[in-house]
Every structure is written in C-alpha cells, then in structure tokens.
C-alpha cells in the first residue's frame, strides 16, 4: 500500500507526461504480482468497492474528530478524502503493520456492508498520511492523478518491447490483477491467453496528407472515402465458448463504450468485427457532432435519449468475419468482403461508407472542397474530409507510414480578440499560454466582445514568447493565475483562430462552443475593431439553432 501511495503521490504533483510514464514504469518493474496488477486496475478505473461511500467515511471521521473542526477543515481543503487523510488522529498504542494493496482490495471486495467501516478505520490507523490519502482515493474510486487508462497501459508496454496497442489487444479479455501481463511485457513470458471472443483490435490510423505527398503518390493506388464527423468505433460480435453471443462496441482507443449505446449494440447479430464511424442518424440523415456528443461519456442512457438520438454505424472496414482474422489481407479484399457482408446483413442501423471516385488529385481536391456535389443528400455537412487508403495495405495497428492518409477539409477560421490569458502547466508554467478570445456582439451599449472559446496550442515557441510579452505588458486585471488584457477597438491582439466546427452551447455566454480551436496566426497588423462579429459564427450553425441564440 505504501509503495502504491508513494506512486500516486508523485503522479499527482507531476505535470509531465514523460515523467508520469517513467514513474509508473518504474513502479511496475519493481513491484510484484498481484500488487502491480491491482495498481494498474486502480489507475485504469477497473476497481470498485460497493461499500466505500463518502457518507460512510464522513461517519467514520465524525467518531474521531470534532464535527465543527472537521467542517472548517473540509471547507479549507476542499476534498473529502484528503481532509480525512490529513485530520485522522494518529493511532495510539502499538505499531500496527500497514496493509498491502492486495489485502485491501481482497478484503474490502469480500466485506459486507457492516464490516467495511471497521476495516477501513483499522487501515487508516495503520497508515501514514499519504497512505491514508491513497487508500481513500482507491476505495472511493476516481484517483484523479492525471493518468488516463491509455497512459497507464503505455507505461506497462514500456517495460519491454511492446506497444500500448499490444496491451489493448488483450486488455478486454483480462481482469485484475491481470495474471501474466507483466511477465509478458517484460519479455519473460508468453502473451496472456484470453478466451475473449471479442477482443479489441487496435485501430489503424492515418497520417495527414502533406502537399509533397501529392507529388509522389498515384491516386490509382488508393481508395478514397469520406471521413465522417462522428467517432471512430469498432463493433466486435462473436459467440463465446458457451455459445452465447458476445457484443462489444469499442472506441478508437479501446474503451468499451457498449453501455452508452445499448440501442445499437443489442441489434448486432453477426460474427464479425467492423471498423466504422459512430453517428447519430435520424430519418436517414446524419446529425451534427453536437447530437452525438450528448450520447458520449455515459455509463447508462435513458430511453428518451435513445429514441431522440438514435445511433448508427457507417462502416469503413471489416477486420474479422466468421472467426477469421482478415487484417493481413489487402484493403481491396477486405472492402469487397465488407460490401458483401453488409448487403447480406441488411441492417437498418449499419450502412456502407461510400467510396469517392479518384481518377486524379484534381478530382479529389474538388470532392474535398465541395462534398455536397459528390454525395447525395444533406449528409455532406457531416463530412470532415477525405481518407485515402492504399488498396494493397493490410490493416496494421497504429500509424504505419505510407498506407493511410487523411485529407481534412480546411478548418473554419475566425479573427478573434485576446481577452484573458492564463498560465500553462509544467514546462509552460512561466508562460501565459492558455488564451480566451472573443468576437464582437451588438449590445444595448454598442459593440462588446463576448468570449467564444479558449485555445492553448497552435503557436510556435517564438509566438508564445511574443504573446506572453504582450500579456504582461497589457494586463488590466488579475484573477489568480488569469490575467485580463486590454481588448479595446484600437488596442489589443487579434488572433486568427482555426477550428473544426461549431456547436450550440447553453454553457457559454456567447451560445456557441468551438471544436478543436487553436491559434492559426497572430494578426499584429489588425486592430481589434476589425475582428469578426458573432454573426460570422452563427452563420455556421443550422438555421434553427442560430435563431435560438439570436
């Protein structure tokens, strides 16, 4: 427990991704099974304890600490687990050996509701302050130490020659404490044998198409297809050993998102693995990303939501069929099999992503510029560019060179005015590197700037220095780490912001939220008065949504 606590403690203060990786890899290398497997489960959100709830912990501490002093302390600290860890009185009497991680996990998972509080109190007595904090974080879930599941798996892979995708591939067939995983990662054992009928097959990804690529690549070698503006998924369905059908919907990174889309998952009756785009489709029309976003990141979903925002898959590729792995086969073969498979399946919520004719680069460029001319119906609005896939390429996890290219539509651009700047983190902590920008809007008292988004990348190191200098020299207000900078019609900094799309938002004062905004250019030449107006943004929304904001 103490080594796990030390790891969490270090992770919670470490802003650098590379250092977080190193800390975890070191821990996995030096810790033994099953503790390291349980630590991995905790870091990837794979552990839960039914009986450890905040109310129970509050009751425990109320038996030991004056309630008024506890409330004052909780107000100051702001985090329940941390307050309890700090305020817990040192246990009198003899030294009790602190528990180890496997003991905590095993005993607490088996404990009944009435046993859990006593168990936790006993451990809190035995642990030091960092240990108590880690224990409480562990048992209440949500470590919040800035580590994603993907990063934790990457740290396991870094033990030896594996890649994170290798871990992903076996991940869903395993459960804590992941027997054999670490030995394999260290190069000391065979890959863990799993009998998971529907493993995640790590996704093949594309490189952005660069202008020079067009000079050397022949379009005849590539299939072109639309890149849809949804989320990339993998639908894997197959019968388990017991003959029952196993269905799973994975995100691009291997997260199991089946729980959020039961309406779709329950209708999958086949034995195959599909690669495609998850979209919300109503009456045959693909809805905006905004509609899909309301269904993401949920563990459960209401009947109303499923009815109003029905999910569908637009298929790109076929990775397995009838128990056969197709990934070694060239795309040409897989595509033909996919077309035939979907024809036979005739599923109302799964369709084929059509190919785009690609006689030459000019034709592709035109298709990319104006997808509406090349694709029937209103779905063209949900196209975010083109994908080029080499006809003879096998399906290779990761981003292999020269196989797949993405040629996204040009981003939207808006000239906005810098309003607030905030310090960055880690290496950027001495720079004002997070920018809130706004555009003009008419109000009763004339034009005013209304914030429309935040950007914290897209600039060069040199530009960062220039903006940082501007922020320091033009600060008019400070709010903790945030500075308000001058933003008047004739004084201020205009930033050309590039973004991928716009959603209606009730959370933002402006009524809109940008997708993927970044700094494209600094317009030192432009006075703020000439920056864009909100109408320029509203024009990008469907008319009814824009009307609701106006």
């Amino acid at each position: 427990m103490q080594r796990f606590a030390a790891l969490l403690d270090r992770l919670s203060f470490e802003p650098r991704r590379s250092a977080k990786l190193a800390l975890m890899t070191d821990y996995f290398r030096s810790e033994s099974d099953p503790a390291r497997g349980l630590a991995l489960a905790a870091l990837t959100g794979g552990l839960s304890f039914r009986h450890a709830k905040p109310a129970m912990l509050r009751a425990l501490v109320a038996e030991r600490v004056d309630p008024h002093l506890f409330e004052l302390s909780y107000d100051f600290v702001g985090d329940l687990s941390e307050t309890i860890a700090l305020i817990w009185p040192a246990a009198g009497g003899g030294e009790i050996a602190p528990p180890d991680l496997p003991e905590v996990v095993q005993r607490l998972q088996q404990a009944g509701r009435s046993e859990a509080p006593g168990m936790i109190a006993e451990w809190l007595d035995a642990l030091d302050e960092t240990g108590r904090w880690a224990l409480l974080k562990l048992v209440t879930g949500g470590l919040r130490v800035g580590v994603s599941a993907r990063l934790a798996k990457t740290a396991v892979a870094a033990l030896g020659p594996l890649q994170a995708d290798d871990i992903e591939q076996v991940w869903h067939g395993m459960s804590p404490p992941y027997d054999g995983l670490f030995a394999w990662a260290l190069g000391e054992g065979e890959p863990p044998q799993t009998d998971d009928p529907v493993p995640f097959r790590p996704a093949m990804l594309a490189h952005p198409l660069e202008p020079r690529d067009m000079e050397v690549l022949d379009t005849a070698d590539f299939a072109a297809e639309w890149k849809w503006d949804g989320i990339r998924v993998q639908a894997a369905v197959s019968a388990g050993r017991d003959g029952r059908l196993c269905r799973r919907l994975y995100s691009r990174t291997g997260d199991d998102i089946s729980g959020a889309f039961p309406d779709l998952v329950e209708t999958l009756d086949f034995d195959a693995a599909l690669d495609g785009e998850l979209l919300v489709v109503i009456d045959g029309k693909v809805q905006s990303f905004n509609a899909l976003q309301q269904r993401l990141n949920r563990k459960t979903v209401s009947a109303k939501m499923m009815r109003e925002l029905p999910a569908a898959i637009r298929a790109y590729d076929l990775l397995a069929l009838g128990g056969e792995d197709l990934r070694e086969r060239p795309f040409r073969e897989r595509r033909a099999m996919l077309e035939q498979f979907l024809r036979q399946l005739d599923h109302p919520r799964i369709d084929l992503s059509p190919l785009v004719p690609s006689p030459d680069w000019d034709a592709l460029a035109k298709a990319r510029e104006a997808p509406a001319d090349h694709h029937e119906g209103e779905d063209a609005a949900a196209i975010e560019g083109l994908m080029l896939k080499r006809w003879d390429a096998p399906y290779v996890p990761g981003r292999p060179k020269g196989q797949w290219y993405k040629w996204k539509r040009d981003p939207f651009r808006v000239d906005a005015v810098l309003m607030y700047a905030q310090r960055g983190h880690g290496k950027r902590s001495s720079y004002y590197s997070d920018y809130t920008f706004g555009v003009w809007r008419e109000s009763g008292e004339g034009a005013e700037l209304v914030p429309v988004g935040k950007a914290y990348f897209g600039f060069t190191d040199e530009e960062l220095l220039e903006i940082d200098r501007f922020v320091r020299q033009n600060t008019i207000n400070r709010f903790g780490p945030v500075r308000e900078v001058r933003h008047e019609p004739q004084v201020g900094l205009v930033i050309e912001v590039a973004f991928e799309g716009l959603n209606r938002s009730t959370r933002h004062k402006s009524g809109v939220a940008m997708r993927f905004p970044r700094v494209a250019r600094l317009r030192w030449d432009k006075p703020p008065a000439e920056a864009d107006r909100i109408e320029a943004l509203l024009a990008l929304l469907p008319q009814d949504e824009a009307a609701a904001i106006r």
Partner: protein, 364 residues
C-alpha cells in the same frame, strides 16, 4: 478589523485594545506590529507584514532592527531601541520584555506586565519545531495569551523537517539532470532550508536568487553556518542537478525559464494541502513551516496557563472553538494585514527589481 475592541473589564481588555493600526497598549502608549505608521512601535520580527517602515520609534531585537535596516534602509524609523531578550524595560505604566519566539532570526514574543501584576504575552508569529537558525520559543506564564493561528486547523500537522529535506535530496538523486528550484521566503525560510540541508550532509554549493543574497549574508554574519553559497548570476543550464533557492513568486516566472526543465519545490506549511501545493506550482512540496501547527498551537496555549486567549490572524475560528471547549475565554481579533507565512508579504519593490535585473538576457 471587523470586530470591535475586545470589551473592557477583562484582564486583556485592560492592557490591550485595538486601533486602526493594530494592537495598542494605552498604558504604555505603544503599538505592537502596527500595520500603519504610529508614534511608537514594538516589532516582533522582521517579516514585512509585521515590520513596516515609517514609525516614529521602533523597539525590537537587535536582529530585527538590523533586518529592517537592510530591507528599508537605515532611516526606517525616527528612533530605534534595542530590546535585550529577557530584560524588562519600563514603558509608560507597564513593564515590557522580549522573549524568543522561534519563528525566524531575532523573532520575539512581547510580554507586558501591568503595575497590578497582570501579564499579557503577544506571541507574534512562532513555531515549536527546532530551527538551527534561531533561538527556540520560550514558553511564558501569563494570564492573557495573544496568539497567531496561521495554521490553526487540525489538518495542519507539520512533519519533521528532516523528512522533507530527505524528499528533496531523494529527488535530486532521481533527477540528476534537472535543477532543483526551491521556492522559500527570503527571511527565515531560505536560511532554515539551507541549514537543514547542511545538517543532512549536503555539502555542495547552493545557488541563490538575487533577492535572497543579502539576508543570507546577514545570517552568516550573525554566526549561522550556511556552507558554500553563490548567486545564480548569469548561470543557467550549467546548474543542472544543483539546488537553487528563490522567492516563491519567482518559481513560475520568467527568471526560472533559464533552467530549462527544473524540478520546482516549494517550502511552505501550505503545501501540505495538495490543491494549495499545485496552485503554488509545487511539483515537490516540502512541508516546512516557520509557524506552529495545530498541535503546536494547542500545546502552547496550554503551557502558558492563560485563561484568556486572543487569536490575531489565520484560522481564528477553529482555534477559538477549541479554546472554548477547553473552558478558556477566547476571542478572534480578525486582524487584517498579516500575511500567510510572509509569502505574500515579500517587499514588492525589491522583488520586482530583482526580477527585472534577472530578466535581462533570460528570454533567450
């Protein structure tokens, strides 16, 4: 000051009252640590929130007078009087003596004894942990104890300093290629961190931000061994793997960029709370405080034997609550103008000046 003067009729109210400038002793005609200029001030220690320039006359320990002269110039007050620790001096109708508070070099508690024999002790800032750079806190019997409560919440229990210094040394051995930048207040904390590093056997040169140099020199002149110290000056990446001390405000400022990718440590009692540590940019929080922690405050209150406790600044509510539970008369004074552990109270002009000087050539 939100609350009216403590009511008269109590022992404490007979001796001390509150004015806009702070705690005032009418019978002696002096203020203690006034927040605005007054005719006659008794100053407990040299931190900028307690020791301010512009008073008519200042009485303080020799070290505190020296420190005020270093910070504000020789003309920091119209007249000065050295207080010899433990020696009673008559001022007006009361007798006054100064006694070590264990906070920083020269820090004192002020004891006032009336003609009728009532004793009031004003603690100033104090701590109970050992500190190789100053005299230890001296417990004093009294009827009224006026205490600070900067860390007056039960979540604040300062660990032994050696443990925290150990964390810094361990990080230094783990990240040998990175400068370890330690944010420490220029008066007291910086010298204590250095002295504790020496006590832990760290013998390499320690490098200083310009704002720390003069007070470190002063401590050494007072016979406190700090080992080999050098200004950072124009050095930058060549300090990889070394310890550099700077005021906390410099950690996340342009001056720090010269070190590339330093490990930033913050030496402060506040960093015991994670959110506070992160706010201060601490990747390596070192819980080293020059104030009494919750246990230290309670222990001290009990040791004085006082039946009446006034709490000047900090987390007054919790300490007052605890005192009342013990059957002690306690009242919060909610004094405004005293900072958190001095961090916020670094004399602004000098830090800015240091930043500007250091900033030249640091943007490359």
């Amino acid at each position: 000051m939100r609350e009216a003067s403590p009511s008269a009729g109590t022992t404490g109210g007979d001796v001390l009252t509150l004015t806009a400038a702070g705690l005032y002793c009418p019978a002696g005609g002096f203020h203690i640590d006034p927040v605005r200029p007054v005719e006659r001030a008794l100053v407990t220690h040299g931190h900028a929130d307690h020791a301010r320039p512009g008073n008519g006359a200042v009485m303080a320990s020799r070290e505190t007078l020296d420190i005020m002269a270093i910070r504000y110039g020789e003309d920091f007050a119209g007249a000065r009087q050295e207080a010899v620790p433990g020696e009673a001096v008559r001022i007006g109708d009361v007798s006054v003596s100064f006694h070590p508070a264990g906070h920083v070099l020269g820090s004192m508690q002020v004891k006032i004894e009336t003609a009728r024999g009532a004793r009031v002790v004003v603690s100033g800032d104090y701590k109970r942990q050992p500190d190789p750079t100053c005299a230890p806190f001296e417990p004093l019997d009294c009827e009224v104890f006026v205490t600070e409560a900067t860390f007056g919440l039960p979540v604040f229990r300062h660990p032994p300093v050696a443990e925290e210094i150990g964390k810094l040394l361990k990080s230094l051995s783990l990240f040998q290629g990175r400068t370890h930048l330690v944010g420490a207040y220029s008066l007291g904390k910086a010298q204590r961190v250095i002295a504790e590093l020496r006590a832990a056997g760290y013998e390499r040169t320690i490098y200083l931000h310009g704002a720390l140099e003069r007070l470190c020199s002063y401590y050494r002149a007072q016979g406190i061994a700090l080992g080999s110290l050098e200004p950072v000056g124009q050095r930058a990446k060549e300090l990889a793997g070394e310890i550099v001390l700077c005021p906390p405000g410099q950690l996340a400022d342009r001056w720090a960029r010269r070190f590339g990718d330093p490990v930033t440590a913050v030496a402060s009692g506040w960093v015991r709370v994670r959110a506070r540590a992160r706010q201060r940019g601490a990747e390596l929080p070192l819980v080293i405080s020059d104030h009494a922690d919750w246990d230290g405050l309670r222990e001290t209150v009990a040791e004085t034997g006082a039946g009446e406790i006034w709490v000047t600044h900090g987390a007054e509510e919790a300490l007052v609550h605890w005192c009342r539970q013990q059957g002690l008369a306690a009242r919060p004074l909610n004094l405004i103008g005293y900072g958190d552990e001095g961090d916020a109270a670094e004399p602004a002009g000098r830090v800015e000046a240091a930043e500007t000087t250091a900033g030249i050539g640091s943007t490359t």
